[in-house]
Symmetry: C2
Subunit: 322 residues, 2 copies
């Protein structure tokens, strides 16, 4: 039996040929704003533009040969659709992606370009699940959940592992929480590869299921998902919540205004295209900065897939919006 730490190390070794080792970037100006040294792990430069590639590759690598031949299926209209498509293509495995018919054409096109078979369905969670199950039955394909899957969780943890290789003495690590895969993986990686580092989760006020779940001790549902951080609208899962609950130091929630402001700060000052979900982590750090004064703080930039034709910036909210 492998220990959890060994599992993480093996996972990182196994997925390395299929992923980018993403750079860590810093900004003097943002350090000044925060009052700490901030190290941004840039998963926006990851293949398919988001960390999701890590977990997708690991999930497929852990299938049996027979399972690989029959393929994988997921339902997603976001980054996991692209990630599973490209991971499957890289490993010569068929991938079926169930997408709601109202998903942006851009996203369908992207998943298709990466080699996935797109299956369109009605835009309801029920229709998605029915279609995914149908493909499991018809094709014998294995369902891979975008975040509530042990192998996906391990894979997502490798971003933090790389960050600790580069900066072993981080005292806190900020990470956005959507479905909980990245947050749970980051918790495990931090436990085994950090040196007493705290993990801080970041959530929009408008999709604060994890924050409320942590308070109540059981999985709470999102009341609203009216947030610009589209990657964080998803619901926490029963595999990742116990890990998050056990290891996370705190979860900070931020307003839509704070998210857009932090996003603008990263775009303007760091010259990085990042998606709103990533800005949620910086917004949370800015909000909690008094607790991390002069510390070394890591932050995972989860991805950079945004619709450039539909950005939230206006001429009046910049450039030094706080």
């Amino acid at each position: 039996m492998l220990t959890e730490k060994e599992k993480l190390s093996r996972c990182h070794q196994a997925i390395s040929p299929y992923i980018h080792r993403t750079p860590v970037m810093t900004s003097r100006l943002i350090d000044e704003e925060v009052g700490a040294s901030v190290f941004f792990k840039c998963e926006n430069f990851q293949r398919t533009g988001a960390y999701k590639m890590r977990g997708a590759v690991n999930a497929i690598l852990n299938l049996t040969e027979e399972q690989k031949q029959k393929g994988v299926v997921t339902h997603s209209s976001g980054n996991f659709a692209q990630a599973l498509s490209l991971a499957a293509q890289s490993l010569n495995v068929p991938a079926y992606i169930v997408m709601p018919s109202n998903a942006p054409g851009v996203k369908k096109e992207a998943a298709k370009n990466y080699g996935g078979f797109i299956v369109q369905c009605e835009p309801t969670l029920k229709a998605r699940e029915i279609n995914a199950r149908r493909i499991q039955n018809e094709k014998g394909a294995t369902f891979i959940h975008p975040s509530n899957n042990d192998q996906v969780i391990l894979g997502q943890g490798t971003a933090a592992m790389e960050l600790f290789e580069d900066y072993p003495d981080l005292q806190a690590l900020f990470v956005p929480i959507g479905g909980g895969g990245l947050a749970a993986g980051t918790c495990l990686a931090t436990k085994h590869f950090g040196r007493g580092c705290e993990v801080v989760g970041a959530e929009p006020e408008e999709a604060d299921d994890a924050y409320r779940s942590l308070l109540s001790g059981k999985i709470e549902e999102n009341v609203t998902t009216h947030t610009i951080a589209d990657g964080l609208r998803t619901q926490l899962g029963d595999l990742n919540f116990p890990i998050i609950r056990k290891h996370i130091h705190q979860i900070a929630t931020v307003s839509e205004k704070e998210i857009i402001s932090a996003m603008r700060l990263i775009w303007e000052r760091m010259k990085l295209v990042v998606e709103p979900s990533s800005a949620v982590a910086l917004a949370a750090l800015l909000k909690e900065r008094d607790s991390y004064k002069d510390q070394q703080v890591g932050l995972i930039i989860s991805g950079g897939n945004v619709d450039l034709g539909n950005l939230p910036f206006t001429t009046t909210d910049g450039p030094t919006a706080k």
Copy 2:
């Protein structure tokens, strides 16, 4: 007497403590679109967000102690204003920046934050020149031209020098041409540090003074400057034109549509915030791609200072606009 090559090497050594060594990035997808291996020298990550910092530092370092005490003056509403301000601040030299009264508040604020004294004037070239001369007389400050200055030209050449240190076998190097400082410096650096590499200049059709100057053999004036590439609206100078004329392989001009399309490609696929002037270089490479098939091609991303509240992207021109 130092040779030109020695001057470049000394310049790079001298400015290094004050500038960032910027990373070189690549994109599999853009390589496919171009049909070549493209190496992007990311000066958008340079201090103040543009390569201008290099020349500004070098110009100040080459002043006498007396000149340094009295300070420097320039007129610019763009990247050089910020660069000279920060360079001067880093070297404890006063900097006076003449800016037209209609320059965006954002830009005035930025130059001021970097420590420059902002002097506002009427928005005409004549008013700018009169005000700069007045400050020269009153303060004894030395005028530093943003592009038509030998020390500025050497400084701007160091971006290409670093690129050749990393990728010595580049066969072509694409660079935008505005005032001509970057292009001339790149020509000199390529002559001395490249291995038979061609320099290709890139200009908007709407500000094609360098293209026409190369044809006629003498400096031609811009007929229009109606281009989104605000950094390239300036006029070629009498110090950099002879260098460009002697060494450049060709100048390619591109339409506004091609510029926006290339800019979107860099933002979407590379997740980099770049200004339109930088996209002009990629647009030119895309236009001329047949001549550079399977080659190793360098490209200087000149900067990343854009007004996020006023971007050219629409919902209909992406994501695979070519």
